[in-house]
Amino acid sequence: MADRYDLLVVGGGPGGYVAAIRAAQLGMKAVVVEAEHLGGICLNWGCIPTKALLRSSEIFHLLQHLDEFGFSADNIRFDMGKVVARSRKVAKKLSLGVAHLLKKNKVTVIDGRGRLSGPGTLAVEKDGRIVAELQAPHIVLATGARARQLPGLEADGERIWTYREAMVPAALPKSLLIVGSGAIGIEFASFYRSMGAEVTVVELLDRILPVEDEEISDLAAKAFRKQGMTLLTSSKVTSVKKTSDGISAVLATPEGERKIDVEKVISAVGIVGNVENLGLEAAGVKVEKTHVVANDFGETGVKGIYAIGDLVGPPWLAHKASHEGVVCVEHIAGKHPHAMDKSAIPGCTYSMPQVASVGLTEARARADGREVRVGRFPYAGNGKAIALGEAEGLVKTVFDAKTGEFLGAHMIGAEVTELIQGYVVAKTHETTAEALAETIFPHPTLSEMMHESVLDVLGKRIHF
């Protein structure tokens, strides 16, 4: 006899658990079915533990520049075991926090793998056995995504890593080849370089962080090269061979073939959706390019089956998944939510320097046929940045020349991942250059650069 609920969520990541809590708030009897750990990749193997690691590398970096701030210390060393242990402890704490939140909201959590087994029915498997059968008029799929495996570069967990192994190194590898320069590849590159590893990054496209504005990509590349990273763009790995103490890789670069010997390889070449073993085909749910096809409200076209988050496609970001979860559930509850404005989803890369952006890049806006105006303000002109010892970076803004519509912001430098939210609010509320210019920003802060960049568009930049 199947247990009956109002809403079932398959997957307890930032899309799924948020959807379940919102459903409970709206008076639904909700369930989360999770096979591994609450909080999903984000909390356990993604956003959060990497931020803990990067915090350690930032501190290490600072310790090496103590003299600049009037300190001296000898014999600065780190214990990789402790660095990793702290990262795991942080992840664990937050995962328990999610369990607590679900309990507080009276959401039932079922341990196992959910699979659509009939109209409105979900079978839960655990260790090869069906442990529960659940029924509900609404089933939200939020099973997320995983690292794409490049043929010939399949991760073995030993010498070829994905983000999972890269997050829990037993020791610092002497040398690393990172394949892919999106946010994930670059964050690991930054972490390992700051900790002292020789890092080479290979990118197929002509610049690193290819989804970012070109100017920001260029500045990031300059900063990383200055730190001693090797960046090979328009390049790819043609073969890898295991050697006695690592990997020997052959790279095709615009300057010709190049051979490189490294201790480890990190593969960060993209994401595929977790669409397998969900019973999608039998249920008639459409899958395209490893992702479930769904509309703005998560509806898949099959009555009662919804999909959100990484499972439905890019951008593969936790905050996008959570927002989709809320919109989907509110839609189910007949609350008429607004569809997510995809042009206002911020993206952050927590490298050193940090990169953050929202909206259209300058090139994209021009390609759309818009007449644009661009504002810039460099970190070198900001008092707070200089006082912090972080005088490198840029705040770039893109506006429509005719209407003053705020189209996008692209930032690189200290704390931009925290600053970007000001621009996200501006974007969501459809601000114009004039309205932002009239806004008062506190002094002395890094945020003043966000103001000055807008003033630059209007020809009113003061401090540079």
Partner: protein, 407 residues
């Protein structure tokens, strides 16, 4: 103090409405959100919800009253604990001296006219800075718009899909009807608005007309074939194919998907096709939004639902306001060809005649083919003859070879 309930502005063009029915009686308890009355707006019947709770103390405007001005008091709600005696103390007709839009201002009136109060009674129009800028550039009063953003905020899309309201009170007064034999039937709102719109369009828009004959034998075969397999899922009409063909053509020739205004040409970003539906007492054009992204079955199902709602007078304003292009099909009445009047601010309308067997010349011989004549009317201020011709030729291409619409 008793709380006045006023006639709301339920659509951008509404200056007055008809109080169709009361759903609560005097003395009934009212909670916020309760439907208290039905209001007939320009083109639809809308439900009026109570904002405040209490008891419906007095109905000021009886059901069936036409021509009730926006912002006139239509009822009074007594707050909890108040008795009916309180009603005597309140002014009967107007809440505040709301500026009547059509009345001439004194010569020395301040330059900025006070904004008309919003439907919710507050004076300020809530709008994003971008919407403000766009409205200002287009010379549009924000208070004439209905917001679709959070909390009814006016956002970019509300201005972008804007129907430019016909200039009010500019038309010369219609002379009183001569005393002739016959019965004078008073206009309903739909008839009045239709008349205003068409007069405005006819007077201000220089029209050009382009006509093409479309051979639709293949379309008829495809339609029969698809309908045979459909079961109860859908039943495609020729008009559903026309909607899809127009949507595809608008994507192919985006210059046709534009609106003229004094400030410039507004190039529309989404393909929204309006389809004229005849009503007992007039005409309405519900819209298939993003028709270029919808399949035939989806278009067909949606069109059917919209037409039914239209006939029941239940269309919501967002279902018939906006749209980038219109289709008017009189084929079912056996009309061979006609010229339609552009529906402003759109730049074009396609008048579709009946598909009928006609003699056509093919390879030097006369053969019988099913032919449907389509006439495109364009706003010549934004659409040149050649542009219109390219558009019409694209429509014909899609209709004659429906396979190409699969792409």
């Amino acid at each position: 103090m008793p709380i006045p309930v006023t006639m709301p502005a339920l659509s951008p063009t509404m200056t007055e409405g008809r109080l169709a029915a009361w759903r609560k009686r005097e003395g009934d308890a009212v909670s916020p959100g309760d439907v208290i009355a039905e209001i007939e707006t320009d083109k639809a019947t809308m439900e009026l919800e109570a904002v405040d709770g209490g008891t419906l103390g007095k109905i000021v405007v009886p059901a069936g009253s036409a021509g009730v001005k926006v912002n006139d008091v239509i009822a009074m709600i007594l707050e909890e604990g108040e008795d009916a005696a309180a009603l005597a103390k309140t002014p009967a007709k107007k809440v505040a001296p709301a500026p009547a839009p059509a009345v001439a201002q004194p010569v020395d009136a301040p330059k900025a006219q006070p904004a008309a109060p919003r439907a919710d009674g507050s004076a300020r129009a809530f709008a994003s800075p971008l919407a403000r800028k766009l409205a200002k550039d287009a010379g549009v009063d924000l208070n004439s718009l209905t917001g679709s953003g959070p909390g009814g905020r006016i956002v970019q899309r509300d201005v972008a899909v804007l129907q430019v309201a016909p200039a009010q009170a500019k038309a010369p007064a219609v002379p009183p009807m001569a005393a002739e034999a016959g019965t004078l039937l008073p206009h309903n709102n739909i008839r009045r608005i239709t008349a205003e719109r068409l007069t405005e369009a006819w007077r201000t828009i220089p029209h050009i007309y382009l006509t093409a004959d479309c051979v639709i034998d293949e379309l008829m075969r495809a339609r029969a074939n698809l309908n045979e397999r459909a079961g109860d899922l859908y039943k495609l009409s020729v008009n559903d194919f026309v909607i899809r063909a127009v949507a595809f053509a608008l994507r192919k020739v985006p210059e046709m998907n534009a609106q003229y205004s004094a400030a410039g040409t507004l190039q529309l970003s989404s393909v929204d096709v309006a389809v004229a539906v005849a009503l007992k007492n007039g005409l309405i054009t519900p819209i298939i939004r993003r028709a270029d992204q919808k399949g035939l079955a989806e278009i067909s199902t949606e069109m059917r639902a919209l037409a039914e709602k239209a006939k029941a007078g239940k269309l919501m304003p967002e279902e018939y306001q906006g749209g980038g292009f219109s289709i008017s099909n009189l084929g079912m009445f056996g009309v061979k060809q006609f010229n339609a009047i552009v529906n402003p601010p759109q730049a074009g309308i396609l008048a579709v005649g009946a598909g009928e067997p006609r003699a056509v010349v093919r390879d030097g011989a006369v053969v019988v083919a099913t032919v449907m004549t389509c006439t495109l009317s364009c706003d010549h201020r934004v659409v040149d003859g050649a542009t219109g011709a390219r558009f019409l030729s694209a429509v014909r291409g899609f209709l004659e070879e429906p396979m190409t619409m699969l792409l």
